[in-house]
Subunit: 163 residues, 6 copies
């Protein structure tokens, strides 16, 4: 059984030494959903055209949060992100908005945490902007979808569709 | 139908003026779950005693993130938090860890976003510390449980148990 | 001749003591212009409708920067902003975009620096987003337009139109 | 006509992928002016010797702001600056202070935004330190002067003198 | 024996609730020393006049760090500092530089941590600026000198001279 | 006599150009002590087992502070830390806790400031958590112990034991 890598042999939290890892292109894709009342989703979609752009604000919040990941997650390494993109897919049936973030880096550590943080903060921002009309929204199923590059190879989360 | 308050009449994003709101004690409670493999949860619980304290690190990350909320959520007001507490409840049956954050403030805006951000970053930190052994963890059902103080009165999310 | 207040009698930089100042409502309005090629402005205005929203991104950057003012300006006091709004007025004749920021606070110091910082970072963001097509843009005439509240009373910059 | 690079084909804001760009030495020089009352400039110059050093404080603020650029400009890439220098040239005739910032990096993106941000925050800091004696100061003609390195080659802003 | 207040009855780290504490004027004074080679101190004192101002840079770093205290110390409350001042006293006999920071606030918690953090970061900054000529400098005897306001009354560290 | 490198020939503060320096593995080790009442140390050691983990919180604070070093020390370069570890050695005889931080990087500048900052903020965090029971704690003898890599070769502080 592999050990939890963020602790040394005495159980002390450490920032793992990545000095021996190869500098390669690494990509991570994460997804999550914000479930809401049908009226809330309708309002987000209406506003996008006519008035205020909830998803545009959430997108920027997600991109900026990806850059802040090492400040938020205590044992995360700082790194120089190559790119971040966020995509929002409204689903009026559920009703919910799916958020997908893709982060790329040429570095010695993966960018799973950056992608997950981007989705997470984008989702919280949607909550913030809609909370006056719907306090029962939930953020669900935040997960890593795909991971590429580095020693551990290509990971695809079972059951996820990728491009 | 109430409007989305973070946009003005032209649909432009604004930080809402809270100058007219009363300064009162405000409390918010949020919850979320990190679902994982049974071995992952076992390892977290084992480590807590013998080796490294995953939940202790996640707790600090959550507390520090609550203080960073206005940096993360674009239209959130800065405020002076009175207190933050996080509680972790492992559930070996599911298996998962439930996270609950309670934030208090004497101020002119509520602290829902601070409580949700604390749970969210604590959950991401658990993911970070366990991702070497379990990449399929998910963060689920992040929601506001209770909210007290301010114009909108006492809100309890239907179906939630509170203390 | 009034002294520079950010230095003590020995010429040492200090953060001035505002403990004796009254807590009142304070408002500051600042303006500045981004001058550019006519094609650049046309592209910003086109994009707003059809493709990407340069001014929407700049607005959020300005709002978030207002909250960061005390981190940027060394001797500035931290304070709890009540609201920030930014308005963009394209002027195809010059051609340029005028930016106006209004910041409100109930506090012991004014918010001139917050308003000026908001305009400044919004202008830099426009530069960033358009620099691939126009490197000769300039940011001009960043100034305080109006200031209300506090010991110094109501200031209107001579020659400025206010609402 | 080149497109605005910070939006994808659907008009969504993105942090552009710089993974394919070459890592080269890149330099950017930016300039701007703070115009003021003659007495204000006199006081800055007097103080430099006898009492408090307005320009010294502004210099540090500019250097520290250059490091914060990716936190301020939403779609800016994080990078590891090699050096930042700021130079202040008082001009008693106008009267004004000219600010010039030079930033160097070995990286995959240019440092225009870092140089412009350094000048901008240095100028705001001068405003902050002198605002008690002169509220009508303006920050003018903030522009990119020179840019070296990267695919786009050597750019010199027409009409600018360089060293 | 009073308990460690930053843990609850189960030993979990918490940000203590200060909601019941009185809002009063609170002052804290902290001191520390940077001990160094005689040539290093000579160079700092020479430079102050003729060339670069080590202590001026350290002063600004200390002031800005005081504002960052709640980001650095995990369980510290955010607060709105009224003022920060730093004083440096070179002592050529030891040889060393003594640093004293005074922080004031009208708030519900004390500012000991802000004063200690200001001295600490000012001392680190002196180290940084002189480390090319003296790697054996030490930072010593960082302590709270005086504390005023709040439930615990007036504290003076035994053996410290105050003003 | 070597010059203070953080000033140019006119005495102006600069961020030194490290573009010509080699990218090599660099390591720095720093140490410092928190001296305290015997009861305070007893409580820290008791708590570690039974209740709250003062040193665990201080460790995380130190690791996170190492990442923030370029934000705190004005002329410090940003860099991508490979690893940070902190070790705490309680000494009931003195009584005190010794803190040692080791930081590694592959980069163009050393990590002395990161290691010293980590020890410093870990020490301040111990102070914060114990200040309710002991206000007379002092932070002492913060110094660089060892430095490896880069032009200046292997430095060991005379009189320090290393591993």
């Amino acid at each position: 059984m592999t050990d939890l890598t963020h602790f040394d042999e005495h159980g002390r939290a450490i920032m793992v030494d990545v000095g021996d890892k190869e500098t390669t292109l690494r990509v991570a894709v994460a997804r999550g959903e914000v479930s809401m009342q049908p009226e809330t989703l309708a309002r987000i979609l209406d506003n996008r055209v006519a008035k205020g752009d909830v998803l545009g604000v959430a997108r920027l919040a997600g991109i900026m949060a990806a850059k802040k990941t090492p400040e938020l997650i205590p044992l995360c390494h700082p790194l120089l992100i190559n790119s971040v993109t966020l995509e929002f897919t409204p689903d009026p049936i559920k009703p919910r908005v799916q958020i997908e973030a893709t982060v790329r880096v040429s570095g010695q550590t993966g960018v799973e945490m950056e992608a997950l943080t981007a989705v997470s903060v984008a989702a919280l921002t949607i909550y913030d902007m809609c909370k006056a009309v719907d306090r029962t929204m939930t953020i669900d199923n935040l997960r890593l979808v795909e991971k590429l590059g580095g020693r551990s190879g290509h990971f695809i989360n079972p059951g996820e569709s990728t491009r």
